[in-house]
C-alpha cells in the first residue's frame, strides 16, 4: 500500500524519507513541488497528485508536508487518515510535531514508523501500544539508559496487541487515580450582513485524560443524550450499549484520547452567543474609507465571553488603517492586508469597539465586497448545545478515582459577512 514517506518542510527540503518497500527515488517529489508551485498557497496543494508511475498523497500539518508514495489502487482516505495518525503519534511522543523536533529524534521517529507500517500496511497505530514497543524519550529514561545501558525499545509484545482491548496497555499504575473529561463545543456559523444566521452548527468533542490504575470499566451517562444523534466514537466505546441505552460504556485507553465527537446541526438548537455590529464603507471618489465594528454578547446563558479575537482579510486596495480600539490591541499588516484585533473579555456594560479610517489606494476603484470578519471566542463552563454529563461510574477496580468534567464553548469557523 504505502510505499514511501517523505517529509517536506515549507521551504521545499525533503528532510526525512522512509521506505517500506524498494526505494523510491526522491525525485518523485518533483511532481509534488510542481503542484505546490501551481497552487501558490500550501492549503491549495491537491491532496492527491498522479505521476506517471506513482501517486502522491499528502497531508499538510504543522507546516510540514507528509507525502506518501503509493503505486496501486488504495482508498485515498485510508492513506490520508494514516498520515494524520502519524502526525498525531509524533505529537503524542514529542509534545510538538515540528521539523527540528523530528530531526532531533530521528531514530525514535524511524523506529516508530517502522512499527506503524509493515510492507505499507498499518501494523500498530494505537499510541498505547506503540509506547510500549518504543518508549517515548523522557528525562528520566535518558538518564537511566545512559547509566544502565538499557534501551527504549521494548522486547515483549505489548499485551494490548493481542487482547480485546488493544488500545489499553496493561499494568498501568498511578498513585493518584484521576479521570478528566472536557466537553468542548465549537460553533461553526455564517452570519449574514443583516445579522441573521445563514448556517450554524455545533461540533462537539469529549476529550478525556484518564489516568487510572488497572483495567477500569467506565460508564458515562448524559442528562440529555438525545442531543447526540450524530456521533463518532473511539473504538473503545461499546456501540451496542449506546444504541440501546444511550450510555457510553468503555474501558479507556491510558492517557489522553478523544472519546467521542458529535455534530449538532439542527439550526434552531444552536444559540449564537455574540453579535457583531459593523459599518464598513468605501467611497468611490475619496481615498478614505470608514471602518467601525462593535462586538457584543447575545444568548450567553449568563457567562462571560473571553478570548475574543477579530480577524479580517481586508481588500487589496486598502493601504493602511488608523483605528482606535476601546479595549484590547489591534494590528494591521499592510503586506498581507490582515487586520486582527485582540479584544479579550467582553464587558456587557461597555461593549468593545474598533473605529477609524482606512486609507485606500488613490485612484483605485472601490472593492466589490466588504471583508468577511472571522471571530474567535471562548466561553468557559458552558456547552452551548446544552449537553450535560449526568454521571461517571467506574467498575472493575476498587479505588475511588478523582473525577472531573469541564465544559467549554469556542468559536469554530465563525464568520460574519459584511
Amino acid at each position: 500500500m504505502i510505499h514511501s514517506l517523505f517529509l517536506i518542510n515549507s521551504s521545499g527540503d525533503i528532510f526525512l524519507e522512509k521506505h517500506w518497500k524498494s526505494v523510491v527515488s526522491r525525485s518523485v517529489c518533483d511532481y509534488f513541488f510542481e503542484a505546490q508551485e501551481r497552487a501558490t498557497e500550501a492549503e491549495n496543494v491537491p491532496p492527491v497528485i498522479p505521476t506517471p508511475h506513482h501517486y502522491l498523497l499528502s497531508v499538510y500539518r504543522h507546516k510540514i508536508f507528509f507525502v506518501a508514495v503509493i503505486q496501486t489502487e488504495v482508498p485515498p482516505l485510508f492513506v490520508i487518515e494514516f498520515l494524520h495518525r502519524v502526525v498525531d503519534t509524533f505529537q503524542d511522543y514529542f509534545g510538538v510535531c515540528s521539523e527540528p523536533v523530528i530531526k532531533d529524534n530521528v531514530v525514535v521517529v524511524y523506529e516508530v514508523l517502522e512499527e506503524m507500517l509493515d510492507n505499507g500496511f498499518p501494523l500498530a497505530t494505537e499510541s498505547n501500544i506503540l509506547k510500549e514497543l518504543i518508549k517515548p524519550p523522557t528525562i528520566l529514561r535518558t538518564v537511566v539508559n545512559t547509566i544502565t545501558g538499557s534501551t527504549n525499545v521494548g522486547d515483549q509484545l505489548p499485551t494490548g496487541q493481542l487482547s480485546v482491548v488493544p488500545w489499553r496497555r496493561t499494568g498501568v499504575k498511578y498513585t493518584n487515580n484521576e479521570a478528566y473529561f472536557d466537553v468542548i463545543e465549537e460553533i461553526d456559523a455564517i452570519i449574514d450582513k443583516s445579522g441573521s444566521t445563514i448556517t450554524a452548527e455545533i461540533q462537539g468533542v469529549i476529550d478525556a485524560c484518564v489516568k487510572l490504575t488497572g483495567m477500569p470499566d467506565l460508564t458515562l451517562s448524559f442528562m440529555n443524550p438525545r442531543l447526540l444523534d450524530d456521533v463518532s466514537f473511539h473504538p473503545c466505546v461499546r456501540f451496542k450499549r449506546w444504541e440501546s441505552e444511550r450510555i457510553l460504556s468503555f474501558i479507556p485507553p491510558d492517557g489522553n484520547f478523544r472519546l467521542l465527537s458529535y455534530h449538532v446541526s439542527a439550526q434552531n438548537l444552536v444559540a449564537i452567543p455574540v453579535y457583531v455590529k459593523h459599518n464598513i464603507s468605501f467611497r468611490d471618489s475619496s481615498s478614505l474609507g470608514r471602518f467601525e465594528i462593535t462586538v457584543g454578547p447575545k444568548q450567553t446563558m449568563g457567562k462571560t465571553i473571553e478570548g475574543v479575537t477579530v480577524a479580517s482579510q481586508m481588500p487589496r486596495g486598502v493601504l493602511n488603517m488608523s483605528l482606535t480600539p476601546s479595549q484590547g490591541t489591534h494590528t494591521f499588516d499592510p503586506v498581507t492586508k490582515m487586520l486582527s484585533w485582540d479584544v479579550g473579555k467582553i464587558n456587557p456594560q461597555k461593549l468593545p469597539s474598533l473605529k477609524g479610517t482606512m486609507s485606500l489606494q488613490a485612484g483605485a476603484s472601490k472593492p466589490d465586497e466588504n471583508p468577511t470578519i472571522n471571530l474567535q471566542f471562548k466561553i468557559q463552563q458552558l456547552a452551548i448545545s446544552g449537553l450535560k454529563v449526568n454521571r461517571l461510574d467506574m467498575y472493575g477496580e476498587k479505588y475511588k478515582p478523582f473525577k472531573g468534567i469541564k465544559y467549554m464553548t469556542k468559536a469554530g469557523k465563525f464568520q460574519v459577512r459584511t
Partner: protein, 1041 residues
Amino acid sequence: MSSNSFAYNEQSGGGEATELGQEATSTISPSGAFGLFSSDMKKNEDLKQMLESNKDSAKLDAMKRIVGMIAKGKNASELFPAVVKNVASKNIEIKKLVYVYLVRYAEEQQDLALLSISTFQRALKDPNQLIRASALRVLSSIRVPIIVPIMMLAIKEASADLSPYVRKNAAHAIQKLYSLDPEQKEMLIEIIEKLLKDKSTLVAGSVVMAFEEVCPDRIDLIHKNYRKLCNLLVDVEEWGQVVIIHMLTRYARTQFVSPWKEGDGLEDNEKDFYDSDEEQKEKADKRKRPYTMDPDHRLLIRNTKPLLQSRNAAVVMAVAQLYWHIAPKSEAGIISKSLVRLLRSSREVQYIVLQNIATMSIQRKGMFEPYLKSFYVRSTDPTMIKILKLEILTNLANEANISTLLREFQTYVKSQDKQFAAATIQTIGRCATSITEVSDTCLNGLVCLLSNRDEIVVAESVVVIKKLLQMQPIQHGEIIKHMAKLLDSITVPVARASILWLIGENCERVPKIAPDVLRKTAKSFTSEDDLVKLQILNLGAKLYLTNSKQTKLLTQYILNLGKYDQNYDIRDRTRFIRQLIVPNEKSGALSKYAKKIFLAQKPAPLLESPFKDRDHFQLGTLSHTLNTKATGYLELSNWPEVAPDPSVRNVEVIELAKEWTPAGKAKKENPDKKFYSESEEEEDSSESSSDSESESGSETGEDEEDSSGDSGGDSSESGSESEAGKKRAAKSSKAKGKGDSKDVDKEKENSKTSESSSGESSSIEESSSDSESESESESESESRKVTKEKEKKTMQDRNALTKDVSLLDLDDFNPVSTPVALPTPALSPSLIADLEGLNLSATSSVISVSTPVFVPGKTHVLLHRMSGKGLAAHYFFPRQPCIFGDKMVSVQITLNNTTDQKIENIHVGEKKLPMGMQMHVFNPIESLEPAGSITVSMGIDFCDSTQTASFQLCTKDDCFSVNIQPPVGELLLPVAMSEKDFKKEQACLSALHLLSKPRHALWNERNFHHNYCCPAEFCFLCDPSEGSKCSQRGCSPFWTR
C-alpha cells in the same frame, strides 16, 4: 485543561532531555568532534570502528547515526559488512536498528545479506512472539531472490504459529514474497486460504489485504469465510475494516442479485428517475417482481452499519460506498449524515469526501438535500474545497431551494478569490439551464455582472451568457448589443471570442452593429489572440453570406490577413472559408450550401457536472478521485441476473449438541421433545457463533449448514434475530436449559395447546427480540408480525406458567452453594413467579431474586411543558414491587404545573394499549397549583415486552397523547448467585459463552487476577463485566461491543 497541560509539560521536558542526551553523546564520541573536519570516507571509517568496538553503547551510537543518514537519504551502503555483523547483537535496540539498515540495503548487497539469514532462522524459533514476528518481518522484507524458498518455508511455519501476531506478520509476508517472486502464487494462495479461516481479528485484515494483492479474482476462497468475516468486522482494527469492507463490496456484487428495484438499472441514463423516490417505488410496485434479499446480503449490510460511527474517516467512507453500491436504495440514506460529519475534519479528508458526495449527489439528490447548508462556502476554505462545495450545491439545486441558493451565490460572486467567483458564474449558468423557472433571473443577474470591474468575472459571465443565449432561441437583442459594446473594453480572449461568435450567430438580428464590430476587429486583427482571430474569420464569413453588400471588402481584407498569419490553424481556416464563401470556378457544389453550413441551427451545449462520468468507478477509490483508472483498480462487477448458489457460503456443521450437556438433559425430560427440530438447533447455534468472538477453540463459527437454505428473506432475518434473543433468554432460564427455549418457536408453529414450561424464557425472549427489532428498521414490519404472534403466545404461556415451574429440571444445580436470602419480590411478575419457583425447590437455590442495589434516579420525559401547554410530566421507574398487581411494573409520574394558572382535573384519558397490556391509572388530580408538582404512581403490565403504552393525559381543557416505553432492563429483575454457580452456568451455555467471549475473558482476568468481585451479587442476566452495581435491573442483557 489542567490535565493536558500537565502532560505537555512532561512531554516537552522529555524533548529537552533527548536534546541534552544527544548533545552529550556527540561530545563524548570522538567522531562527533572530528565529523566536521573529516571527509565522508573518514567519517564512515569512524563508524566502522565504532561498530566493531566491544561496547554496546558505541555500537548503538554508530547505528543511530547511520539511521540518521538513511533518514536523510544519504548513502550508507558501504558500511554494510560492518553493520551486518551486529545482526546477532544481544541488545534489542541495536538489533532493531540493524534490521532497519538491512531492509534498506539488502537489495543492493545481496551476497552479504545472506550472512544474516541464519540469525533470522534462529530467531524464527524464538519463544518470544515479538522476536519471531520481527524476524519474519525482516526476513521477508530483504528483497533477495535467492532466499525465496527460505521465506516460503518461514511463512508456512508462521501461518500455523500459535500467536495471532505472528500469523498477522505471516499474512504481510505473503504480499512481500509475491511481489518478489510472482511464481510462488499457487503456494501462497494455499497459505492465504488457510489464513482466511483464521478466527483472530488481528489476522483478518492482513490476510484479506494479502488476498486482494495476490489473488483478488479467487472469490471462491471467500465463500466459506464470508459470514465469519461479516461477524468479525466490528472487532477488526480500523485499517483491516477498510480493506475487508472494500473486498466484501466486490464480493457482494458478484454473489447477490440486485436489491435495487427494476428500472433503477437504468440509473446511468435516466437521471429523472431519481427525482422522487415515491415515483420509483410506484414503478417497482407495478412490476411486482418479488425480491427477497439473501440473508447473507442482509448480514453484511447490517454488520457494517455501526461502523458509520467510527472515528476513522476511511472506515466511514468505506461503509458509505458499501451502502451506495450494495444496499437497497431506500437504506442508503443513512450514510449521508455520517459523510456530512466528516466534513469537519482536515482539508484532505474534506476534499476526498466532497468528491464522493459530488458523485452521489448527481444520482440521488434527495440524500443530501437536508444537508444543503453544510455545503455553504466559507471565505477561509481553500479554493479546491470551495469549488467542490459549489459543485455539490449545483447538483442539489431544485425549484424549491434555488432562490436561497442564488442569494448565496451572489455573495460568492463578490468573493476576493477570483477563481472561485468565476466558478460561481459557471454554476449560475448551470442552474439557469437546469431549472427553467429561474433562467431569466439568472440571465439578468449575469448581465449585471457584465458591468463588474473585475475582468475575470466579466469574461466568465460573457462565456456563460453565450451558452445560455444559445440555448434559448428567443430574442435577446438587447443583451447582444450590450455585449458588443463590451468588446471595446474587454481583453480576455475567451470572452472576446464568445462575443464575436454570438454576434455572428445573431448577425441578422443586429444588422447595424454586426458590420461595425467586424470593422473594429479587422483593425485589431493582427494583435488578437488566435482564439479571437478564428472567431473574427467566422464572423466575417457569416456576415459575407448574409450582408455581403456592406462587408464584402472587409471580409476579404480579413481573409488576406489570415492567409499570412503565423498560426497554421488560422491559415487553414482562412483557406477553407475563402473556398467556401467566395464563389469561383474551382469551388464545387459545397459553396451553394455555404449559408446552410455556417448558419445552421447549432445544438445548445450541455452544461454538465464534471462529476457526471465518475460514477463508473467504485466510490472511495483512488481511481474515483483521479477519474482515471489507477493501477490495480478492480472493477466492480454488475449484479448477476441470477444469484449464484448461496449454499457455497455454508460451512460444515460441527456437532455442537455435545457441548450442551445440560441442554441435552433438559431435552430428555421435556415432553415436547418431538417438536424439537434439528434445523432449528442449527440455526440457533449458527446465530450464536456468528456473534461470537471466535478466538476460542471450538468450531462453532462453521456450522451454518442449513440455516440459510431453510430461511429466506426478511422474515428469516427477524426470525434469526429472535433466535439470538432466545439465546440470551436461555441463559436466564437456567433450569430449563437450552432445549426448552428453542422449542418455543416450534411450539408456536405447531400447536396452540402448549403446556410448555418455557413461558419464562419466551417472555424474556420477547423483550429482547423486541429491542432487536427496534434497531432493525429494515425488517420492522416483518418482525412486528412475528412479535405479535409471540405475544399471544406469551400470554398463554404465562397463564400456564406458575403451574409449570415444577417441571423445571433442577438437577443441574449445585447443591453445595449457599442459598441466598429470599428477597422481596420485585417487578416482572412472570419472572418472579418463575424464579421463586426455583427457590421453592429445596434442593438448590443458586439463583435468588435480590433487591435492587441500584435505582437510577433517571427520569424520562413523558410530556414536555411546551407541548403540554405548561403541564409537564416525567416518569421514573422506582423498581419497587407494584401495589396494583404483581404483573405490573410500577411507574411514578411527576406532574409539574409551569403555567401561572391552576390546572384542573388531571386524569388519564383514552388508553391505546397493545394487546394484553394492562394499566392501572392514577386517581384524577383535582387541581394543580401554579409551579406546583405532584407525584402519582401507576402500574403497567407491559407483558414483558418493550412495547409502548400509549395513553392520553387529560386536563380540564386539553388532552395530550403520551407514551411510556420501558427499557428492557426495567422489566427484568435482579438475582444473585455465587460466582461459582455463575461460572458453571456460563460454562454450560456454551453458545452464550461464546457470544460474549471477549467480555467474559476480560472479566475473568479481572476477577481472578485482581481479586475483584463480589460473587454473591452477579446477575446472570447482565454482563458480568458490569460488576455488581449494574447487575440489577436497568441494563439490557448481554451487550457486546
